[in-house]
Symmetry: C2
Subunit: 491 residues, 2 copies
Amino acid sequence: MILKARKIPIKVGHKYIVVFNEKVAHMLDVQPSDRVSVRNGSRQITCIVEITESHDVKDTEIGLHVETWDELKADRGDKMFVTLAEKPESNKYIREKLDGKELSKEKIDTIVRDIVHDDLSDVEMTYFVSACYMKGLNNEETANLTKSIVEHGNRIIPKSKIIADKHCIGGVPGNRTTMVVIPIIAAAGITIPKTSSRAITSPSGTADTMEVMCNVTNDAKKLQKILEKVGAFITWGGGVDLAAADDRLIRVRHPMSLDPKGMLLASIMAKKYAVGSTHVLIDIPYGPQVKTSTLTQALELKKDFERLGKMLGMNVKVIATRGDAPIGRGIGPVLEAIDVMSVLENKPDAPKDLREKAIFMAGELLELCGKSKKGTGETLAEKILSSGSALKKMNEIIDAQGRKKMPKVGKLTHAVLAEKSGKITGVDNKLISHVARVAGAPKNPGAGVLITKNLNDMVKKGDILYTIYAENKQRLSNAIAESKAKVYTIS
Amino acid sequence: MILKARKIPIKVGHKYIVVFNEKVAHMLDVQPSDRVSVRNGSRQITCIVEITESHDVKDTEIGLHVETWDELKADRGDKMFVTLAEKPESNKYIREKLDGKELSKEKIDTIVRDIVHDDLSDVEMTYFVSACYMKGLNNEETANLTKSIVEHGNRIIPKSKIIADKHCIGGVPGNRTTMVVIPIIAAAGITIPKTSSRAITSPSGTADTMEVMCNVTNDAKKLQKILEKVGAFITWGGGVDLAAADDRLIRVRHPMSLDPKGMLLASIMAKKYAVGSTHVLIDIPYGPQVKTSTLTQALELKKDFERLGKMLGMNVKVIATRGDAPIGRGIGPVLEAIDVMSVLENKPDAPKDLREKAIFMAGELLELCGKSKKGTGETLAEKILSSGSALKKMNEIIDAQGRKKMPKVGKLTHAVLAEKSGKITGVDNKLISHVARVAGAPKNPGAGVLITKNLNDMVKKGDILYTIYAENKQRLSNAIAESKAKVYTIS
């Protein structure tokens, strides 16, 4: 069928979508989400069909979204040759997974390839996520998914023999341990390329906190250079496209907050595999208000990570840590960056818990990499930190990535006071994160919460528990309203 | 946040979608498929977010697709007040189903309501379909889904006490039994409102075949009038919107051809329940090449239908029939209509198998409705058919719906001959349907296949097996190419 090109002046994110009116769809015998092959001169692509009830796209026309229009180098009125196209091969493998079948390496690779090439619609990807969630992925499938994600993404290949990584599965407010560990490890002479995520539902991700001090959107080429020069970076993973398939899957996992275990493991490990990691330390905080609520769950996840690491040829060590209370004082990008820098600068008032956790983790990683004998890692880590070598390394990283002037903390503040005297027996991680987020974090980098009292501290009635920082009045008053909820339990 | 309205001149089918550029999305802290509340003056609606990478929608703008634009009565540059909106309530019930929980009547009803109000995105509906497919729907859930679909759709309420229906779950080429049964039952004085589907992957649906003789797109009001006057209609179900939720679910089931059993049952039974059916006869053809491949499967489905009928207060009888070979001679809209009319007109050369199956089915339905005593239904059905009463009734139905001049059969033909002599021991239903479809059916109403020889017939080498009809050369030559495959097995 020959149809005239009509531009629809909007990008859709998925590459190739075409729009027909109902009459044309009927004549072509296509349903929404079917595929057609569209040719303009010598350019030909496969597109997913949308059907409009209106007559904005006429009986003689094919509507092309910006990406499709550009790819076909179309001009208004150009003649487009439209024919039916087959479903992508992966469609039938997704169906097999829905029916509970195990998928071979080749089938998983085909699915990942089609995802990266934008050949699968959101509905089809959703079926894949659902099937992985309800039928599960076994060890082989998880390892193959991880490899395929890496093979169909960008890679960074450091030249060193030992390449370390440190990862925390998250959920603990203010926990910016990574930003202290990385410079310690790098200062010890170990290559450590670190990609991090931005906050989705939390008040700040490592990438958000790092971003107040330097640029975190760097491409693979630039990161390769930084690594050769400094031996480390701390960058936003989304900017490198190490796991393009994973990013697309996350888009359809988001509406249901669905974390199929195999996908979660693959998602994390792909980013280590893509930068050639050989020695990986993973921190799994557990507690009633983090993702992993019990030690049993944490230990199960530990096994999964270590098994997957083995299958991928990586040396993975997992540590389960308590995640009952915030770590450090700041919650929010700038407030957290101040914590991190005060630890690196060995300031006397630097948050002790953050310093201790960082030294412990760095020590474990030094031992894992064979840099310290068993039992001596912490001593070495402490020495590197106290000597100022870690601070020096962090400044090298920040300069290499492109230093920025750190924004100020929010100029509007409100102190939340203890309503009675006693011992703090509980801090609600989710609530305090919520308050920081309502105050504006991470969008307003200076917004958030500064903790004065933490779990197990003794307080007197009227003592400051925490202070809300905001960049504007509305945000502050919203956060104050949210702070009425019982964030602290005092007994 | 206040943004200026910008129209995106395309309808999307789902009601309310808004488009932000990445910067605005970041400031609003929204992800694709999140929801925002948009207010223009006194008009306020909840919309699903799309994010564009381009700058076609500017930092100060909100892009509104036609439906959203119209609903908000927007004018270019109007100020829109945008705030975050909650996910619809049903989102968490879908999540519960993904986790294998049973859904209460209220939860199912909320999901169906949100589907009909276009409050769920395709991705969310896909999760619901996946969960129903992999976790199944129990009897209660299936009955509640059926009722909810009906409660959130249009209804037709006939005045009669007994309301019959006849349904075939399909898969047998040329099987237009329904179009003979309906007029027989109606001629016997029983009210029988029949909604049918169009072909999706077959060469013709009952609605397509009926459409060559009369209008089949009628709204509920008009159908109610026809029913009062004639006692029957045969119309396209999609035109009445009896099961709006079902139509939307089918859209996301289509890409994977997914038929979760509970949804399939609910989909069929909702359309009976919506027209007040009290006595329903269901034909389940089984055979290696129809949806239900074995008698065991057919009997299991029979139990499901009868149980669901009971729960809905309907008298349901299911008959499993052999579906090994086409029924009638024509395959394709006009060719099938000719078969149907020749049976109703009692022509000596009318296809015997179609006549016999129709009399058998009509007899069963007459008995089910209590019009005939057990064992005498077929005699009454045969009498009504032979007397010309059924033909008279069919003409009344056609006139009431709006008679059209029947198109001619395709003027281009090609006869496919037996390559050897012997007995026909197999007819490939799927292949012969495929040939008819490639020839142009149902889009080209006169196209299709006319069968001369059928299962168990004796043939001599060179005898005509079937004739392909097409309306244009290209279609004919494509169909001839497909007819090279082994449609008939001669032993």
